[in-house]
């Protein structure tokens, strides 16, 4: 687990480094990909127990770090949703995500997440607040945390995206698009496993694979996309072959 997390963090750091030149240009609009990568780094680092405990102590030792991690993940998926929908020209998904429907949904989910968090009794730092799973508010809070990313991913992994990704003429870019879609697909069932966690043993493992495996695949996909752009091997322009 830690290996997957650390290597994804490394990749995401690289991704941010490659975009530094862009960020520094004054007056340019916010580089959403870099913001998403930075947020995802924080989320993934907080999945490492020692990092989590240390950070949480700094924040008062009442598991605020977990809430931060949840909210950062919403930011990541909002951005991923907008960017992937734009990239693969999913007009309907994009308008859903940037439109009033998702704005309302995001506000509601964020509000509910914060309310559920403070309604729970979480006196001491506990990685993933696993110790408090007997409270229904904690249960709901954890499932909600996975539900938002899963719904956004579900909007993105429609058949049309796969068709578009498969039609990409550059092999490297095709691979990166497919990896990203596979990563998002993994995220879709994560709330179900999260809900099963207290009752079934293997659900915890399945949930980890979905959430962190999915994030890692998306990170690798973005890195490959960047690589293919640098490689600039534009598609064959000889339409008049023969």
């Amino acid at each position: 687990m830690t290996v997957v997390v650390l290597s994804s963090v490394g990749l995401l750091l690289l991704l941010i480094l490659t975009r530094l030149s862009k960020i520094r240009v004054p007056g340019k609009r916010l580089d959403l990909i870099a913001v998403a990568a930075a947020c995802l780094i924080c989320v993934m680092l907080l999945a490492i127990p020692t990092v989590y405990v240390t950070t949480d102590h700094l924040l008062g030792g009442r598991n605020i770090a977990n809430l931060v991690s949840h909210l950062l993940l919403y930011v990541v998926f909002w951005i991923v949703g907008v960017q992937v929908a734009s990239a693969l020209v999913l007009t309907r998904a994009r308008s859903l995500i940037v439109g009033p429907v998702n704005r309302t949904a995001t506000a509601a989910v964020t509000g509910a997440t914060i309310w559920l968090f403070f309604a729970s009794f979480l006196p001491t730092s506990s990685m993933g607040i696993l110790e408090y799973q007997d409270q229904w508010t904690v249960q709901a809070y954890l499932v909600l945390g996975r539900l938002y990313p899963a719904i956004i991913s579900g909007l993105l992994v429609v058949p049309r995206s796969w068709k578009t990704a498969l039609s990409v003429p550059l092999p490297l870019l095709r691979a990166s698009s497919l990896l990203t879609l596979w990563g998002l697909t993994l995220v879709v069932p994560s709330p179900i496993f999260e809900a099963m966690k207290p009752y079934v043993m293997w659900a915890a493992t399945a949930e980890d694979v979905c959430a962190y495996g999915g994030a890692a695949l998306v990170a690798v996909g973005s890195a490959l996309t960047w690589l293919s752009r640098r490689a600039e091997n534009r598609p064959d322009e000889t339409v008049f072959r023969g």
């Binding site: 734009s86 990239a87 990409v168 598609p235 339409v239 023969g242």
Partner: protein, 239 residues
Amino acid sequence: MSIPSKDFRQWADSLDSGMSVSRMSELAGLNRATLHGQIFRGQVAEKVVVNMARSLEMDPLGALSSFEQYSELLDETMAPSRAELLSQVHFKDLFGELIRRSGSPEAAALAVDLPFEDSVRSWLDTIDPGKIRYFLAEQAGITEAAISGQLALNRMTPALAVAAARHAGVSSGSGLVVTGVLTEEEGRWPPGGRLAALRSASAVSLIDVSAYWLTLLRRRALAASKDQDVVESIWEHLG
């Protein structure tokens, strides 16, 4: 629809009684296991017969016509039509001819040999008396989309090509030439026929055929530009 193994073995026996599969595959220029597999599955490709006939210096068209489903092949093979010949000229040569007739120097030979991308499609569209794809789909028991799929790969099974020629009332041998089973000569196409057809084509038919190719080229260019748009979009939003 290929040649039934039973008929194939009978034919091989008639050439040399008791001919071994090793000898057959040697004559056909095929791996022994490949040919054995075809015989075992009950269907032998036309190309095997053609290759064996070539090795034995027999007429491939005659060899094919000794099989039941191709029994009328020899009778149905005649000289190709001018339109057919012209349909098998690459657009480079077509456009070259247009330019030549506008006063540029003459090229001595055709630049592109058969087959080339979309050459099968070009032939089929040229001989099409109307709805030929529908007819072929019915004939072969497959969908029209499957026919289009074959054409996109510049392919068509020999049996289907012969059926198309028969339906359109052109030489059956032409079907085997354009699908690459027979050489132009073996399919009774006159030597230099394509070049002659190009040179003697009327200005109108030359322009018509060029326009046909421009339409195909436009379709290819459109598909390529759509793919390129997706690439740019992914780079812009995720790169």
